[in-house]
């Protein structure tokens, strides 16, 4: 027997307000989730030939559907999964950095960590011609080294502020020029490869490329999610967080390593998809509102951005644009806006 709602004592204003805000955050996150699913399904259906939901579903279940099995199962599915997982990885890693450093500019794609992964991957693929697993490995090492270098250059008396952003932007520019140099100098360079490593692209996605990322995401995302409460407390400053029982250094180290590794795997698979890590957190914050962890909403927003941008790039224009070109066009104005605002506000968030 359940008590009728009317006879329950009214919850206190404190409880009611907290419940209401939490429910509204959950609703917004659920909405993002539904949109991601819809775009994922759509990217399996549309293309040169349209396949309905029924055919797509049967392919996903592993049944043999003439025509669709190849187009959907071999071409579209890995591409859509890559978009989904790379977008989610970039989104969650981006918001982790932004939350930890309390600055929307402190995203791994702005401060050079993606560029580090990208430079290593492009050297591995274009120059050394190593296989995918090794490329991922090189990207991770390079991304971690880049993060360490930025940290050491920016570290001064335990304070990581605007210095880190500026140093990171400089390092990103240097590493981007390494990528461009390698591509231009490589004997067998072609436009597809170049675009993938310059702006990020889902073209040519195969299970061989996608699987390492999927495995990495399955391991690393739970690691980040387990730290989400501690990360939220770090927003109050190290002193407060520590007084509230957060092991500050340990939390920071854990989330840095996990987020950098996610960025590296995503970059090794799809290239440095421009601005997704940077945009996902702020958009997610707008959508779900303040007061809760942004990790899941930002992951969903990242996936949404990549899937939507890839669909748009493939089908909306006369020419096919790689996903990074579209996200780049979206992200650049926001970057300019933030830089202008930072300059005015003297660097605070």
């Amino acid at each position: 027997m359940r008590t009728a709602p009317a006879t329950r004592p009214a919850p206190s204003p404190l409880r009611a307000g907290r419940r209401r805000r939490a429910a509204s955050r959950r609703r917004a996150a659920a909405l993002l989730g539904v949109l991601v699913l819809a775009l994922f399904a759509l990217s399996l259906m549309v293309g040169q030939t349209f396949y309905g939901p029924g055919e797509v579903w049967r392919v996903v279940l592993g049944q043999d559907v003439p025509g669709a099995s190849f187009t959907v199962g071999t071409l579209r599915l890995p591409r859509a999964v890559l978009g989904l997982v790379a977008g989610a990885s970039l989104g969650i890693a981006g918001v982790t950095f932004q939350t930890m450093l309390r600055n929307p500019l402190a995203s791994p794609d702005i401060i050079g960590i993606s560029a580090g992964a990208s430079a290593a991957a492009v050297i591995g693929i274009v120059v050394l011609r190593v296989d995918e697993a090794l490329v991922s490995g090189m990207a991770i090492v390079a991304a971690l080294v880049t993060a360490l270098v930025i940290y050491l250059l920016a570290y001064r008396d335990g304070v990581l502020g605007t210095r880190l952003i500026l140093i990171g932007i400089g390092i990103a520019a240097m590493l981007d020029s390494v990528v461009a140099y390698v591509i231009v100098r490589a004997a067998a360079w072609d436009l597809q490869v170049a675009m993938r490593w310059l702006t990020g692209s889902l073209n040519g996605a195969t299970w061989g490329i996608v699987l390492p990322l999927v495995v990495a995401a399955a391991v690393l995302m739970p690691v980040l999610l387990a730290q989400s409460r501690q990360l939220d407390l770090l927003q109050h400053g190290d002193d407060t967080a520590s007084a509230l029982g957060v092991r500050v250094e340990r939390t920071r180290l854990t989330v840095i390593v996990a987020a950098v590794a996610l960025i590296a795997f995503a970059t090794a698979a799809a290239g440095p998809i421009a601005f997704v890590a940077f945009l996902a957190g702020p958009i997610a914050a707008r959508v779900v509102g303040p007061g809760g962890s942004l990790m899941v909403p930002a992951a969903l927003t990242g996936a949404l951005l990549v899937l939507a941008a890839d669909l748009a790039g493939q089908h909306l224009f006369g020419t096919r644009y790689p996903v990074g070109v579209i996200t780049g066009v979206l992200g650049a104005p926001y970057l300019v806006y933030l830089l202008v605002r930072t300059n005015r506000a003297g660097g605070s968030l």
Binding site: S12, P13, L14, R15, G17, R18, R21, R102, D157, G158, A226, R229, D232, L233, Q235, H236, G237, D238, D239, T240, S242, A243, L244, G245, V246, R247, V248, A285, G289, P290, G291, G292, L349
Partner: protein, 272 residues
């Protein structure tokens, strides 16, 4: 109940990088009493509180909580015994007062634990004590300085620790809110026996509200004792490099410092 917790700094040296800020300081915090720390700017007061609250590891010496080095105890266990309100805490953009104060319950929660009745009661009580119950649904950004400070204190109170460290909890407040906050902390001390250690800017308020007054200078502990013992013209001169006269505060009977500047002295300077 709470008098049992002891907090002692044993010959601690503290610094940032190579720079030593506090050098060989000894301090015993009297359990169940109010201790106030005074000293000139940059003499290391906040640094000392950071070390007491375990954020900063001493390069020499120990901070002992209940006789055990605080840096070897689990952060969460320490956070259930000792709370800290830093000098300038940060709030994420747009967070509601209720959600902020609720974060004070963090050390009492496990990773996936649900919000319990005890948590709810602690938050309600903290809001009530600080007079912030009406603000619960407001965003912290849009509060006045005085309201915001009370909300931060509510967060520290929700933590329900037996020891509470506060770094200049009254700095941004006008005089009536300063008194309100100090009275609130005194209530807390009197009714629950909470041990309070706070840095205060205002010498006279520090003397009035302290059971135990500590004067710091250049990273050293210059004097510690009852306000009457510590707050003398001589100590004020050594700590702040300022001449003054100390009289009995007609309201509380505690010592009160009257600074002697170069102007406005009714008697010839040098009389003190």
């Amino acid at each position: 109940m709470t008098d049992s917790h002891t907090l002692v700094a044993e010959h601690v040296s503290l610094g940032y990088g190579d720079r030593t800020v506090v050098d060989g300081l000894d301090l015993t915090v009297p359990p169940g009493r109010i201790t106030t720390i005074v000293g000139a700017n940059a003499c290391g007061k906040s640094t000392l509180l950071r070390a007491l609250s375990r954020l900063l590891a001493p390069s020499q010496g120990h901070v002992l909580l209940d006789g055990k080095a605080v840096h070897t105890q689990p952060t969460k266990a320490v956070a259930r015994t000792m709370g800290l309100l830093p000098q300038s805490p940060l709030a994420p953009e747009g967070i509601a007062v209720a959600d902020l104060v609720a974060r004070g319950r963090s050390p009492h929660q496990r990773m996936l634990s649900r919000w319990a009745v005890a948590d709810e009661q602690a938050v309600e009580e903290a809001l009530e004590l600080t007079g912030t119950t009406d603000l619960v649904d407001r965003s912290v950004d849009e509060l006045s300085g005085g309201q915001r400070q009370r909300v931060w204190i509510a967060m520290a109170l929700a933590q329900q620790t037996d020891i509470l460290l506060l770094d200049e909890p009254t700095t941004f407040l006008d005089i009536c809110h300063q008194i309100e906050v100090l009275d609130l902390l005194t209530d807390l001390n009197r009714t629950r026996g909470t041990t309070i250690v706070m840095v205060l800017h205002d010498l006279n308020l520090a003397a009035r509200y302290a059971d135990h007054l500590v004067a710091m200078c250049g990273g050293q502990l210059l004097a510690g004792g009852t306000p009457e013992e510590v707050l003398t013209a001589e100590t004020v001169e050594r700590v702040f490099g300022m001449r003054s006269e100390v009289v009995a505060d007609p309201v509380s009977g505690k010592p009160m410092v009257l600074p002697i500047g170069r102007h406005h002295s009714a008697q010839p300077v040098g009389h003190a």
